[in-house]
């Protein structure tokens, strides 16, 4: 439900970078969303498309990449992919585990028109 807030922040960030680069428009934005980030990609895309008109990103395509959840085990120190549902060590099955990747919510790059 907070995807609208995130879309607004994303559009502001894109507009700021585009302004700094002297761009006339932004054709695409690549975003990384971690598996453990509480963000629904389709809701984010819907919100983004709904509010982008009238901004420098008015015709910007949103390219979303999912970042797999990687954890470090507190018991055996193993690192590896873990399922979001179980959140346990892929090696020994222990818990808790500390996520070392998969919480991202980042703008990776934009493609600008000069």
């Amino acid at each position: 439900m907070h995807e609208l807030t995130i879309a607004q922040e994303l559009l502001e960030l894109i507009a700021r970078v585009a302004r700094e680069q002297g761009a006339v428009g932004v054709s695409s934005a690549t975003v990384e969303i971690g598996e453990l980030a509480t963000v629904d990609p389709s809701a984010l895309e819907f919100a983004f498309e709904a509010i982008r008109p009238g901004t420098p990103a008015g015709a910007c395509r949103l390219l979303m990449r999912s970042v797999p959840l990687v954890v470090r085990c507190s018991r055996c120190a193993a690192e590896g992919r873990a399922s979001r549902e179980l959140l346990c060590c892929p090696s020994c099955g222990g818990r808790p585990v500390e996520p070392i990747a998969g919480r991202e919510l980042r703008l990776v790059a934009i493609e600008i028109e000069e």
């Binding site: 907070h2 922040e9 970078v17 509480t38 919510l105 790059a109 493609e111």
Partner: protein, 221 residues
């Protein structure tokens, strides 16, 4: 047309405001808690009891977050302390900027503890750092013992868990052992309190924990 590498967090603005808040709180030596739960878990009632129990020893204030109405701030203000309401409109969470805009209302030097009651929601508030020292989760026994595994991100982020409304345990199928085991499996350092704001059961342990956290913050001033 060419690609510009950005590599910035989308919620970077929120994180910057949160950092700003954190610096304020540190400079004024005020300990700040972010209380989170589903709607109806008993956050406001817990705050009312907590204010009554601690107001003679510590200087407290409350920020209330709700989609709409001033009901909660009015409830807290009746207990004789400053309570400020933030209405989020459509938003399902508080953000750091809203907290920052509220801070001038308070005399932070005259406060030991600022309690922030987030909007009732088990998903969204986890994503928004407010600059608080600790996050505290409430889970009422009426909600069901499966919530820690259904909403792991929230429970992973919390420093303490209050299992609330334990006076209702005879009437609901809530497995305390399961809920606490699942929550601790997500978060080894989680402090768990079993409380009833209605009967007062378990609240003393919660007050003691809170007092220790406040004292810890005071000595760092």
């Amino acid at each position: 047309m060419h690609e510009i590498a950005v590599g910035a967090g989308i919620l970077g603005q929120n994180d910057a405001w949160a950092q700003h808040n954190r610096e304020h709180f540190r400079a004024h030596g005020v300990y700040v808690l972010n209380l989170m739960s589903a709607p109806g878990a008993g956050k406001t009632t817990l705050l009312e009891r907590t204010v009554d129990a601690l107001a003679s020893r510590y200087r407290l204030a409350v920020i209330e977050g709700d989609v709409q109405t001033r009901i909660d701030a009015e409830r807290i203000a009746r207990h004789g302390i400053q309570a400020v309401q933030i209405n989020t409109g459509a938003a399902c969470h508080l953000d750091a900027r809203q907290i920052h805009e509220t801070l001038p209302v308070f005399d932070l030097d005259a406060l030991d503890l600022l309690l922030v009651e987030n909007v009732g929601n088990l998903v969204c508030p986890a994503e928004f750092d407010l600059g608080e020292h600790d996050k505290v989760m409430l889970l009422s026994v009426a909600e069901g013992d499966d919530k820690p595994i259904k909403y792991p991100v929230m429970f992973h982020a919390a420093r303490a868990l209050l299992v609330t409304k334990v006076d209702l345990l005879p009437y609901v199928d809530f497995d305390l052992g399961r809920a606490e085991r699942d929550a601790r499996a997500l978060n080894l350092e989680l402090e768990v309190f079993r409380v009833s704001a209605r009967t007062g059961e378990g609240l003393d342990a919660w007050y003691q924990w809170l007092a220790a956290r406040i004292e810890g913050q005071r000595t760092r001033r």
